[in-house]
Symmetry: C2
Subunit: 155 residues, 2 copies
């Protein structure tokens, strides 16, 4: 089962059960507020005072920001720049715990299932779980997703 991250990963390199640990990333309050001002300006994401009085007790990252950071960790960590063909969608996201300024997220990339395309012989679909944990080892977010990858050229 392949685990090295040194060369292009094609569809054939993904195997159910495969787990890859992908770096970590710390998020600042500025980043949390910048993202939320653009895309999710709810009080508990952008307003320190209002957030203090909310059920979260302080500013928390937009769940979309957490997902976007997870995406970046996957793009930076998994060597599929030339083989990725995008994604048809996700089968579930769970925002389990708040992500706050100063938190450091680590990502585990788990391959769940693979299926070569019947209609398009150049590609296959890979089902994955992405699991983000914080610096306390708590799982903060999980994403069950799909992505298409090129098949390894013959020869």
């Amino acid at each position: 089962m392949r685990t090295d991250l040194t060369g292009d990963w094609y569809f054939e390199d993904f195997t159910p059960g495969q787990e890859i640990e992908l770096g970590s990333r710390t998020v600042s309050e500025e980043e949390i507020i910048d993202f939320a001002r653009q895309f999710d300006p709810q009080p508990f994401h952008v307003d320190r005072e209002a957030a203090s009085g909310s059920i979260y007790g302080g500013v928390i990252a937009s769940g979309w920001h957490t997902c976007a950071m997870m995406m970046r960790m996957v793009v930076d960590g998994m060597p599929f720049a030339s083989t990725s063909m995008g994604s048809p969608g996700l089968d579930g996201v769970r925002w389990l715990l708040p992500v706050r300024a100063g938190d450091t997220l680590s990502l585990r990339h788990v391959t769940k299932q693979v299926k070569a395309s019947n209609s398009k012989p150049d590609r296959g679909v890979v089902w994955t779980s992405w699991v983000a944990t914080n610096q306390h080892g708590e799982t903060v977010c999980t994403i069950e997703g799909m992505a298409m990858f090129k098949r390894r050229p013959a020869g």
Copy 2:
């Protein structure tokens, strides 16, 4: 069934079958590339030339960017700033068609199901579909999600 968007929406204002049309938003190439450089720097999101040679034939928005824009349209359109309590997660996202520079997205907010919390009498969970269509009337993205809202105070 409530459809006005003029005052706070509490949990009790959401009714299964309710459909609300929420404005529209045009996305520029600069926005697409800016988002992707930060969070999803795959060639078909950030590199015009590489994108031209990809299966997409040009730069397309990161699916996360599309979702984030949809979130912003909901926050801007639905009057729940003081009643929203965040979201435990999503049950599905489908990226059905590429979103490209110059596309104008419109959003339909559909209430699917509602459930008052048994354990926390101050809130309830609302299950929604968000449906984004482009200027050609084509559905580009759907999100099946959950969100928590405050219950309307008695009195």
